[in-house]
Assembly symmetry: C2
Homo-oligomer: 498 residues x 2
């Protein structure tokens, strides 16, 4: 049975499998148990180094959050091999969990019981890149950053940017519908993925690797696999539209004395920076204190004014002097109008990185401060401060703030309506985790928000699907799952509650 444990620097070395975290009642499905003859079969169709029975590294995810009990991990090197594997598993009713870079944070790529891991790491080639259209066709196991490095000298960039870019793979990005920092500028994967090659649960290869920007011929099947978290098949190839790489990048950090001013600053950034605005991130003052205490000791904060909120604006454009002129005018106007209380503009790439780190180091600051709890909700941005305030008040009223929970902070992507709430918990306490989940997820659902803006459902949020989706939506999802995966072998127990 899969276990869930929150990473902290303390727990990293002592992590042990827990047997009944989150889903004590969950029963193993009616799948066949792996036998020696199955392993023998895979040895016959694959090379020695593609059949791995030392599965420990593939039973724990990147952040040490989950631990599975898979006994076999397969590393296909071709779509044809993926097909042979799934055909056999489907015939034998062996359950399968697809795994890419294993950087997901909802447990989607870890076996819940003893599913066979099919890892795409050895499917990692660029199949083609068209320097006129910017369309890249790549294997699913291509690492996001590796693709970015491949297209960079040709003047292109990948349309998504994640903290995990050095490890996450395109197939996994597609399967979780990864968002990231550039979504407000380049849009989501439903718009940027032009085609997919997918091996269906029975081993059939769905060849839909179109490299066309427009194609209205029947149902757009690829869309179903984007965000399906590997429950409908294994993505083996991705056709992706890449945008031109910006020739000029600028960053400003601003201080604001209310969340209303954060909103105003965001709205006028969309007006005045418009086509060059590439990120608008915010965080609260508690986040600054935490980063300063745990990560950037001795470094002074770039802004003197101590304010409740800060924001980072990034512009990406094609002409440095135009972009700077717009950004300076924006800052000047905001300060004159009293919306922006203080601001600083990076003068070189070192300063640019220096400003970004105050935003980027927040998650790590939490994980270094104890057992970390991380939430990724989407909602009307006007609700952001209310949600953080309500969470704090709820646990303070119960006398749990400062004792069981601490460091409740809010930050995130204003441009996408995506709030991250993080907090620390004293020790590792399953009940404490569930109590926090319950309050945060219910708050989001009650306020017409989403319990998962970009991290997906996996196993972590499966219990909340019946609350955040209506019965009609759930019924259609089940119909689709059944139509695509009759035997239910693909990534069972995840995403869709049966």
């Amino acid at each position: 049975m899969l276990s869930r444990r929150f990473y902290s620097s303390l727990s990293k070395k002592t992590i042990t499998p827990l047997t009944s975290i989150k889903h004590p009642d969950l029963k193993r499905g009616p799948y066949k148990k792996l036998e020696t003859k199955d392993v023998d079969y895979f040895h016959r169709i694959l090379s020695k180094n593609q059949v791995v029975t030392e599965t420990d590294p593939y039973n724990i995810d990147f952040f040490n959050l989950y631990r599975g009990s898979s006994k076999l991990c397969l590393f296909p090197t071709s779509t044809r091999q993926v097909s042979s594997i799934l055909q056999y598993c489907n015939e034998q009713k062996l359950a399968v969990v697809p795994q890419g870079g294993n950087t997901g944070v909802s447990g989607g790529s870890i076996a819940v019981f003893d599913e066979i891991v099919v890892n795409t790491s050895k499917l990692n080639q660029v199949r083609s890149f068209d320097a006129i259209s910017g369309i890249a066709v790549v294997d699913a196991g291509m690492v996001l950053e590796a693709l970015d490095q491949y297209v960079a000298p040709l003047g292109y960039t990948v349309p998504l940017d994640l903290g995990a870019k050095g490890s996450c793979q395109l197939g996994g990005n597609v399967s979780t519908n990864a968002g990231g920092l550039r979504l407000m500028r380049f849009g989501n994967l439903h718009g940027n993925v032009l085609g997919l090659e997918v091996v269906l649960p029975d081993g059939t290869i769905l060849d839909g690797l179109s490299a066309l920007r427009k194609d209205n011929t029947g149902y757009d099947l690829k869309q179903l696999f984007i965000g399906a978290e590997g429950t409908l098949g294994i993505v083996t190839g991705v056709s992706l539209l890449t945008p031109k790489r910006a020739q000029s990048t600028n960053v400003a950090m601003i201080a604001l004395d209310s969340f209303e001013h954060v909103q105003q600053a965001y709205v006028s950034a969309r007006d005045e920076l418009s086509e060059i605005l590439s990120a608008f991130e915010f965080w609260d003052h508690d986040s600054v204190q935490l980063v300063q205490k745990t990560m950037l000791q001795g470094q002074s904060y770039p802004l003197e004014a101590k304010k409740p909120f800060y924001a980072l604006l990034e512009t990406q454009g094609s002409r440095e002097e135009h972009d700077m002129e717009k950004l300076e005018a924006y800052l000047e106007k905001g300060m004159t109008q009293g919306v922006i209380q203080d601001g600083v503009l990076a003068q070189d790439s070192t300063q640019l990185t220096g400003l970004w780190q105050w935003r980027e180091k927040i998650p790590e600051a939490i994980t270094r401060s104890g057992t970390a709890m991380t939430y990724d909700v989407a909602m009307d941005i006007r609700l952001f401060p209310q949600m953080v305030t309500d969470v704090k008040a709820h646990f303070e009223e119960r006398g749990l703030l400062g004792s069981r929970y601490s460091n409740i902070i809010g930050f995130g992507h204003v441009g996408d309506g995506n709030l991250h709430i993080m907090a620390n918990m004293e020790g590792f306490d399953q009940h404490g985790q569930e109590e926090f989940d319950e309050f945060v997820f219910n708050w989001a659902i009650e306020h017409q928000g989403s319990i998962s803006a970009e991290h997906g459902i996996g196993i972590h949020k499966i219990d909340y699907m019946t609350r955040c989706k209506n019965p009609v939506q759930l019924a259609l999802m089940r119909k689709i799952k059944t139509a695509f995966d009759k035997n239910g072998i693909m990534n069972p127990y995840k995403v869709i509650p049966f």
Copy 2:
């Protein structure tokens, strides 16, 4: 039986139903025939003016291309009414064709036999608009231009722009996955539609009107309805992300002496105009001559150089002087390098409209010159001139150019890889139409292109689905259709060949 006839100014008034165009073998499905008691039922649940038996206007599409034989057209005013209608039709096995602005050009919104038309024109309200996020939630029958006019004073614009914008409806745009002129800038509807409300074939209301920019909670069901051409249900509500309205728009027209130079001009426009580039259209010299002869007699062409190709570039940005500086530098560089042979830059909005008309009037010029044939293919842009040359050569070799066919021209959206080929046919000749279809569609399929970039399949291209889609894709489409529409009542005979 649905008839198809190509519009020309001559045929407009004399159009008569033809009984066996394109699909002489097509048989009416096992649907119930409309009875008086059915009409009585609809009279009971709807007001008098919502039940129309004078169906002529709804049996012919906007361009007089198709003629159906529907005996009943219903105009629901609420989602609840759409639900009651479909529940009844599903129980009674009455076939239904959804209809919006009826501006489609593939026959998707016209009854093939006697299907009941459910027209969304009376569902035309803005449900909400959020001036901070730019998210509009509207009824499916909202006219595209009306929504643009609604959001304009609030600083926003719709992310798609079509010739039919004054008549087409959001629900129809979604159902055909409409592309249009702004796609290269704002992306497609799979990225911009945030949520949908759909009435499923059995009358169940799928409430998925999310107004969140990010939401990764289970399968993204709305994606299936985008481009399904009404075969899976009737879209009744749309949540759409609208971008900020540009504060500055500029247009240049350039002359180029080869298609290689068109490509080079496009690539460097993406480099140098980058984030402000909003359109890059091209057309050939034959298009100019045709427009000059039929539409803009007496007007001199803005460019003196007579060249095989022309292109129109549009920029949309937030600062006029910056945009002009970039555009002027781009033109100067292109001319210095010998890529651009001649160019002109609009100095005011009258000139801007004047330049655009040489591109926008091409389709009308063809329809005024005889029976028009129009194609909408997508492919690698390097193939554009080859396709036009091959089409001309094919019919010239057979002695048909100048006799049966004339005015074969090529133009389209370079930025989207979307080529329009249009031609005139002498009189209206079904065989001539099919012969042209056959050559153009097969050419596109053989060159890994799409037979429909944005116009959809409808009834016109249904015979080509088995050639342009592989059996795996077709099988999945059929599975989805069956899972959603057990009785097959929704827009039968269209999109998916059974």
